[in-house]
């Protein structure tokens, strides 16, 4: 034993002269570290109620609840997370995964209350002392659990594309599809946005699990035009995909296409296995577009005898005679239509109601009628000279091309309009070898056309002249040509309203083209309706008024598609068809 061993312990006494380590908590409030994981804060303005936080919480500490301050709306379920601090372990996985970045934490860590229920609270709604705290855990910007990047879709180069009417979009490869499907967080916000309420997370899961038969069943359950929609759907679901807050929305449309592309048409019947038990009732449908054929599909599945009357020589409506084949090849549309017809739907082609058969005959012999005749009457530009023989309608040009006829547009074409029909007409003309100028009254951001369509039209060298208002169409020097006078427009916003193009009369231009294609909108032709029925059916801005089940004021008559809904796209027509089938079934069986 050394002396040191006996004396050194007394060194402890030295501490008596030092400051104590401990702090007295009630008098000295120690703040949590800057990124401390304390009580939650939620910005309910940003939160879209996707429930991903609830999904990831391993303690079931989160419930999604309705609150008075918020209603469900497009892209927002209206729900917000409520936390149970009897369960929470402050792991912050919920914060890491929050799709909108609305959820974070404060650095507050003490909370005393005598009411145990108060520990179940809804941040952003229930008052807390920390709700404005600047500190606390947030997901680090470089730490991402969400998958934000979409695989690049392979497409024909613009030069390649212009050489033919071949499909431009190649479709995903297997690897791409699985990677893309993996990004889905299954929040289902998109389901509410989809007019047909397709089970989007369900079929995306099927891609992930490579179960294409299940995928096909899920698709056709809500959309008998899935092969078609997988190509040309306006995919508004993608606008509301929660992943799009920080990244690219899921390529929902391309994944739908991927499933259908994996299943050959011959196998549809065996996989979908639609069994039909006749119920003895009969429904007549006017128009074999997506609206009419969708109604036919669901009515047939319910056992109705269905006859579809179609003025044209084949089915699909505007999808066949409007949408060009480089976006939607005929065989894909046929895949859908053939399957519907195979269920025993009778389609009478080249039969125009009001011309070949009177509408009243249908009224007399059917239990119910569904009308989806679409809008095939080009709208007028309301300018002088628009009846010039070198002025063609976009619909006519597209119809000719779809029917393999040469529309004779010439080498130098002006397209008037900024919607999808204008883009299609412009790109079709480029494929016919013409130089194309698109004249539009507003700015690019105001164009109603699909963003991809605009982008591709630009890539295909369509020349966009924006804020250009046509004023007059006249004969050109050559009788094969036509002259258009147009003026520049200024966008002027009046008291908070959307800016309006105002013609600047001092800045006028005159150009000459081989043809001018007008594509500024279309309307329906309802002349086939007998006057007394027409009088009873209510219209509003050129659309028939219907209820959620497409019912009209005339008991037997249901109307849908472009002539009833304001959106006027394929999926809305398809959804209308399905709703009509439900409505008709309820009507007939009551």
């Amino acid at each position: 034993m050394k002396l040191k061993d006996l004396t050194s312990p007394f060194y402890v006494w030295q501490r008596a002269f030092e400051k104590p380590y401990t702090q007295s908590k009630p008098t000295l409030n120690r703040e949590g570290a800057h990124a401390y994981r304390g009580f939650h804060i939620n910005d309910i303005e940003k939160c879209v109620g996707c429930g991903t936080c609830e999904e990831i919480c391993m303690n079931n500490a989160i419930d999604m609840v309705e609150i008075a301050a918020k209603d469900s709306k497009k892209g927002d379920s209206g729900l917000v997370p409520r936390f149970d601090y009897g369960r929470c372990c402050w792991c912050a996985l919920c914060v890491d995964i929050c799709t909108t970045g609305s959820l974070r934490m404060s650095n507050e860590y003490t909370w005393a209350a005598d009411d145990p229920d108060s520990f179940r609270f809804t941040p952003g709604v229930d008052e807390t002392s920390w709700q404005d705290s600047e500190h606390g855990y947030r997901r680090h910007p470089e730490y991402d659990l969400l998958k934000l990047v979409r695989p690049e879709m392979e497409m024909l180069s613009p030069d390649e594309g212009l050489k033919s009417f071949d499909e431009v979009v190649a479709g995903y490869t297997h690897e791409q599809a699985v990677v893309e499907a993996d990004r889905c967080i299954e929040c289902e916000i998109c389901v509410a946005t989809c007019p047909a309420n397709m089970d989007i997370p369900g079929y995306i899961r099927a891609v992930r699990e490579e179960n294409f038969e299940e995928g096909l069943r899920l698709l056709y359950d809500t959309n008998p035009f899935s092969a078609t929609c997988g190509r040309i759907c306006t995919h508004r679901c993608e606008d509301d995909c929660t992943i799009s807050t920080f990244g690219k929305p899921l390529a929902i449309r391309w994944l739908k296409r991927y499933i259908v592309d994996q299943v050959p048409a011959e196998r549809f019947a065996e996989i979908l296995n639609d069994e039909i038990t006749e119920n003895g009732h009969h429904v007549s449908i006017v128009g074999a577009g997506p609206g009419g054929m969708s109604a036919a599909y669901y009515l047939r599945k319910k056992g109705y005898g269905v006859t579809v009357y179609e003025a044209g020589a084949s089915g699909g409506g505007m999808l066949r005679y409007g949408v060009p084949s480089y976006r939607l090849p005929d065989d894909q549309l046929d895949k859908d239509i053939d399957y519907i017809v195979s269920l025993g739907v009778e389609v009478k082609y080249n039969t125009k109601i009001g011309h070949d058969i009177e509408f009243q005959q249908l009224m007399d012999k059917s239990d119910a009628i569904f009308i989806a005749t679409g809008m095939d009457q080009p709208s007028s530009m309301r300018i002088k000279g628009e009846d010039h023989p070198r002025v063609l309608s976009g619909l006519t040009v597209l119809n000719d091309v779809a029917s393999h006829k040469d529309p004779g547009v010439g080498k130098n074409v002006a397209v008037i309009g900024g919607g999808n029909v204008a883009m299609d007409a412009a790109r079709v003309c480029r494929r016919l070898g013409a130089d194309v100028t698109v004249l539009y009254r507003r700015r690019i951001v105001d164009m109603p056309a699909d963003k991809d369509e605009i982008k591709e039209a630009l890539e295909e060298n369509c020349n966009f002249v924006l804020q250009a208002i046509p004023v007059l169409i006249e004969d050109a020097e050559s009788s094969d040509q036509v002259t258009i006078q147009w003026g520049e427009a200024e966008m002027i916003a009046e008291d908070g309203k959307r800016p309006r193009p105002v013609l600047q009369e001092d800045r006028m231009h005159t150009d000459t083209y081989d043809s001018i294609i007008s594509a500024i909108g279309q309307s329906g032709d309802f002349s086939f309706l007998p006057q007394e029925i027409s009088d009873q059916l209510k219209q509003h801005w050129g659309k028939f008024e219907v209820d959620q089940r497409q019912r009209t004021a005339v008991g037997k008559i249901f109307i849908g598609g472009d002539i009833a809904n304001d959106v006027a796209d394929a999926i809305s027509a398809i959804a209308d068809g399905k709703n009509a089938a439900i409505g008709i079934d309820a009507f007939v069986s009551s």
Partner: protein
């Protein structure tokens, strides 16, 4: 010294001995387990260990949570050392899923682990002194451990359950100015360690009570599966950090610390030196670690993350020695099986039952602490 004779069951039950339950809530017990002691006078004749007070069913819980949901679970398996569990789980998942972890994450993980080792040893050193009656030292070490917890709070967002090392990397880089603050805490702890050396390790009473207490015979090491400082104290130069280097240990300068006699005193000395080693490693890392670059790998979507069928055993050196995770995946979103093998399983049960025989009742707690065991790690 008491004759280390083994008594038969009949003799033990004959009534001539005293039965004493040491734990589960005795302060000298390192967690909720108990020793059922049979005493002859003051000396232990026989010991049966009992666990079961802490069973939370982690391994089963983990089979019912997705891969990402498990990382906040595992830290709870050994309360004073959550980080090792976080690392082992992440490393095992990464191996099964074939994920490459970015270099910066490896450094941050390694730093986090050595900080954890130091914090855990501080708590332990206080306990070691406290169980021999020097609770002043306990107050000092717990204070400095709290300074470590402040660092964890800054680095990870929490003091105890850090949930910082997640499969794929770590959740955040170091906050601004962290190195300076960490270095100043290190200086404080280094100073404290010298003080403790002076008042405790050189303390005659401490020496008297701990020397020759609970000697681990080198012959016992392999049959009993003794690892870590308990084995190193009797000359086994075994340390996973050197033997199978992981993270960035092969880029750091350190030697395996050994001694030639594993009694309670020497084990304390070995750990004491390892604490200095931690400080050195932390300083090296703060100096060398990259300050730029990604700290987390790109994972598949964690909400439906499936890992191909497979199995793996990963190990690391925790404060108590080799710590291992055995994971089996079956291709689904859930683990098929998890088994966690911590050193406490053998140290607190088989080794303790053997070493405690013949020990004076007053030294039982000191012996147990000197083996550095964590009951929560036994009961997963």
């Amino acid at each position: 010294m008491f004759d280390l004779k083994r008594y038969s069951e009949a003799e033990l039950e004959s009534g001539k001995f005293t039965k004493l339950w040491h734990g589960p809530q005795h302060p000298g017990i390192t967690g909720n387990m108990s020793l059922e002691l049979t005493l002859s006078g003051d000396d232990v004749v026989e010991c049966k260990t009992h666990v079961g007070y802490l069973h939370r069913g982690f391994e089963k819980l983990m089979e019912r949570r997705t891969y990402i949901q498990n990382f906040p679970v595992v830290c709870r398996i050994a309360v004073p050392e959550p980080t090792f569990n976080e690392y082992m789980y992440a490393a095992a998942v990464e191996e099964l899923a074939g994920i490459e972890v970015p270099e910066r994450a490896e450094w941050l993980r390694c730093l986090n682990l050595e900080m954890m080792r130091l914090a855990s040893f501080l708590m332990w050193l206080g306990g070691a002194c406290g169980s021999f009656g020097m609770s002043t030292v306990y107050q000092w070490t717990v204070t400095h451990r709290d300074y470590m917890l402040d660092l964890f709070e800054e680095m990870t967002g929490a003091r105890i359950y850090h949930m910082y090392i997640s499969p794929g990397g770590v959740r955040a880089p170091l906050p601004d100015g962290f190195s300076e603050r960490a270095l100043s805490v290190m200086n404080g702890i280094e100073k404290l360690l010298y003080e403790i050396e002076r008042v405790a390790l050189n303390n005659h009473i401490f020496k008297m009570r701990s020397q020759d207490l609970g000697i681990i015979d080198p012959e016992m090491v392999d049959p009993y599966g003794i690892v870590g400082p308990n084995a190193r104290a009797c000359g086994f130069k075994r340390d996973v950090r050197k033997d199978a280097p992981y993270l960035v240990y092969d880029q750091l300068d350190f030697e395996v610390i050994t001694a030639d006699k594993s009694d309670a005193y020497t084990r304390t000395l070995v750990r004491y030196q390892e604490m200095h080693q931690c400080i050195s490693l932390i300083r090296q890392m703060l100096e060398q670690m990259p300050t730029k670059g990604s700290f987390h790998a790109d994972l598949p979507n964690v909400l439906h993350w499936k890992i191909p069928a497979g199995q793996t055993y990963v190990k690391s050196e925790c404060t108590r020695g080799e710590y291992g995770y055995f994971l089996v995946s079956d291709g689904s979103e859930y683990l098929r099986r998890v088994t966690i093998r911590g050193p406490s399983y053998t140290h607190a049960i088989a080794v303790m039952e053997k070493l405690v025989v013949g020990v004076n009742i007053a030294d039982v707690a000191g012996l147990m602490v000197s083996l550095h065991t964590y009951p929560p790690e036994i009961e997963r």
